[in-house]
């Protein structure tokens, strides 16, 4: 029915099946929009955040989602600046994922702040000493860049391409894509870092507070490293997921292995840096604030297991798996390690938000607990649903995986050979 909108030569399921896939996600989106609407109309009392837990589920998930969306800039950097040609196979998908992650995060932020209509104040009266200002500027600029990078993907749709001005604009824009990739890398470097930089001024939270180089605390660099490390992993994970759901081969196995290797390498560097940073924090930064590091982990349920889990289980382990060539040959190992890495970054962001706020600072404060309300969960599920809907739509009508066609022909050639071999 809508075949003329689908890229020639690739197969997509029937329109009816597509709609029945989209429907539950649309329903989830509707529910999520209702939750968000409640928060916007009735106020943030709809959440379970309070004066002690000023940041909750949304900020934690925003940080995670932005770290996972780092694959977009990093793949662009590797492909267009460092000329790693194999990544052409996943760049379109990475851009869509990045767009979905960042736009989703920005939408959640709009609901999270008490006065969303005042968002422009940050641009008008920026406080250049605050890392949050930097984050706001960078993320807004980067979202714009991502939207511009998404445009050629849209314009290459089979029908839209027939319009000469679209064809030509896409062609000319693609010639300059390295500029956008460079700007995207620059912006991402800074906002991924600034999200970590938020902790450089948090003297009042010695659990999270870090010192570093001039205005940049160690968490600035750790956040960039972890985002760059987990970006390729997330792309690996999502590509594999899309292959499974659509039951098609979309990229060559070499691409998976390359993504795994890049991720493993950066993850190893990150784990090392994080371990060094943790040691410095335990022995110097924290004691200087009057807090002994061990005591943070005496408050249940956040024992030292969480530190061990973050660095060893979800950091060192996937790094080692991804760095072992023999294990990289198996998709099962690749995907599991990628999932572990993604979870590790989520855990790190959780520790830096929820655990940080749960721990007492004043000696007469208790340990605090927080559990999100259904409105908060609903708002976040809206982002997930929105992401799936946009990605599914893009997967159906745009050419997200340029290698799909060639792989299809390859498989056909193999089938022919097999048939021939079987005959004789």
């Amino acid at each position: 029915m809508d075949k003329q909108f689908i890229t020639r030569g690739v197969q997509r399921c029937s329109t009816g099946k597509f709609l029945s896939w989209m429907l539950p996600w649309a329903v989830l989106l509707a529910f999520g929009l209702l939750s968000a609407g409640l928060c916007l109309i009735k106020g943030l009392n709809q959440t379970n955040m309070d004066n002690r837990f000023a940041f909750g589920l949304w900020i934690f998930l925003d940080l995670t989602v932005i770290a996972l969306g780092a694959g977009a800039f990093f793949t662009g950097f590797l492909l267009y600046i460092l000329k790693v040609k194999e990544l052409r196979a996943v760049i379109n998908s990475a851009v869509v994922i990045g767009l979905v992650c960042y736009s989703g995060a920005v939408c959640v932020l709009a609901v999270d702040v008490g006065q969303p209509l005042r968002a422009w104040f940050t641009f008008w009266y920026p406080n250049v000493h605050s890392m949050l200002t930097e984050v706001t500027f960078c993320i807004s600029c980067y979202l714009t860049v991502l939207m511009i990078e998404y445009l050629p993907i849209v314009l290459k749709n089979r029908q839209l391409r027939e319009v000469p001005s679209f064809l030509l604009f896409e062609h000319e824009l693609h010639k300059l894509v390295y500029v956008l990739a460079g700007v995207g890398t620059f912006l991402s470097f800074f906002h991924q870092g600034s999200l970590g930089g938020l902790y450089g001024v948090l003297r009042g939270r010695p659990f999270a507070f870090r010192e570093g180089l001039a205005v940049w605390p160690s968490t600035f660099f750790l956040f960039i490293l972890s985002a760059a490390a987990v970006g390729p992993s997330f792309i690996l994970l999502t590509t594999w997921l899309v292959e499974k759901i659509s039951r098609k081969r979309l990229v060559r196995p070499e691409v998976f292995r390359l993504l795994g290797r890049i991720s493993g390498l950066l993850l190893a560097v990150y784990t090392l840096a994080k371990s060094v940073d943790t040691l410095i924090w335990i022995n110097r930064t924290s004691p200087e604030s009057g807090f002994a590091a061990w005591q943070y982990y005496s408050w249940k349920p956040f024992g030292t297991w969480i530190l061990f889990a973050e660095i060893v289980l979800f950091g060192l382990l996937p790094a080692l798996i991804l760095l072992t060539p023999r294990l990289r040959l198996h998709t099962g190992w690749l995907v599991s390690a990628a999932a572990l890495a993604c979870f590790g970054v989520a855990l790190n962001r959780f520790v830096m938000t929820v655990q940080t706020l749960a721990l007492p600072t004043l000696s007469f404060d208790p340990f605090l607990s927080y559990f999100p309300s259904w409105q908060e969960v609903g708002t976040f599920l809206a982002v997930v649903a929105y992401g799936v809907l946009v990605y599914s739509f893009s997967f159906r009508y745009f050419n997200l995986f340029p290698e799909e066609r060639e792989l299809k022909l390859q498989m056909a050639a193999q089938e022919e050979e097999a048939a021939l071999a079987g005959r004789y």
Binding site: R8, C141, E172, L173, V183, L187
Partner: protein, 276 residues
């Protein structure tokens, strides 16, 4: 944000921060605007067809982009760097200087049961161009192409007076779910249009005449080698687009191939064969 705002000071932090921000904005805006301007310019210079063909060419699988000399076995391995426009290819120019093509005495070449007359030149997108005595060029679809399309459901021909470019769109054909653009073998102005029943599709007044104008088209001994490869490609396309695996071991394609493969994605097969 701006010097007169509350809290703004002319210090290093403000200058670096806001400087970086404005620079990024300017760079991004410049990129988009210059892409728009260039696109406008391309539109005016009628570069659409050339750019479309280059874009389509890049998306062909590597195996489909082999140099014509690989087809004939003269080269072992070479991917065409000129989007099949051999007129500007140095390598091709040098090769035919030293290895002029032998003339075949037969009037017609019978390749796999299909007629490929030697009085015309063949485009890799399965069109042919025949120079006439009055200086015009006739353009048609070759026999394999005609068998692929059978009797077309619809044809969109350009109006007389329209310009066509080599490797650009000559006309469009519809068959079943296929909607393909047929590539033009020559540059020129359309004088007259034909149709499926008339054996030819376009009569064109070419921009250039003589041998160099047709340098990029296949002729003579190249045709058979190319056709064999094309049959392999067709076979592969049929299998990958949903036809049951068949073994083309010397069979002749029927008059209406589409009818024999009702379950195949005919649009994809035609797209593959007509190089769209």
């Amino acid at each position: 944000m701006l010097p007169w705002n509350y809290g703004f000071e002319w210090n290093a932090a403000h200058i670096i921060f806001l400087g970086a921000f404005y620079t990024v904005l300017v760079v991004v805006a410049t990129t988009v605007v210059s892409a728009l301007i260039r696109a406008r310019r391309d539109l005016g210079a009628k570069e659409t067809e050339a750019i479309r063909w280059h874009s389509d060419f890049e998306e062909l699988p590597v195996s489909d982009r082999v140099c014509r000399h690989v087809l004939t076995g003269e080269f072992r391995e070479r991917t065409c760097p000129n989007a099949f426009d051999c007129r500007h290819c140095e390598t091709h120019g040098k090769w035919i200087e030293h290895h002029p093509m032998a003339q075949h005495p037969e009037f017609e070449e019978d390749v796999l049961g299909m007629a490929f007359p030697l009085d015309r030149f063949y485009h890799r997108g399965h069109t042919w161009a025949r120079p006439e005595e009055d200086g015009t060029v006739t353009v048609g679809i070759d026999e394999l192409g005609e068998r692929l399309l059978g009797v077309p459901d619809a044809v969109e021909l350009p109006a007389p007076g329209a310009r066509i470019q080599t490797n650009g769109t000559a006309f469009r054909v519809h068959k079943r779910d296929a909607d393909v653009r047929i590539l033009s073998p020559v540059d020129g102005e359309v004088i007259e249009t034909g149709g499926p029943g008339r054996g030819w599709y376009l009569r064109v007044k070419p921009d250039a005449t003589g041998e160099p104008a047709f340098r990029h088209l296949l002729r003579g001994a190249e045709v058979k080698a190319w056709l064999n490869r094309e049959m392999e490609r067709l076979q592969l396309a049929l299998v990958s687009e949903g036809a049951a695996p068949t073994l083309a071991d010397g069979g002749v394609p029927v008059d209406d191939i589409a009818a024999s493969y009702p379950e195949a994605d005919w649009d994809a097969v035609c797209g593959e064969m007509f190089l769209e």
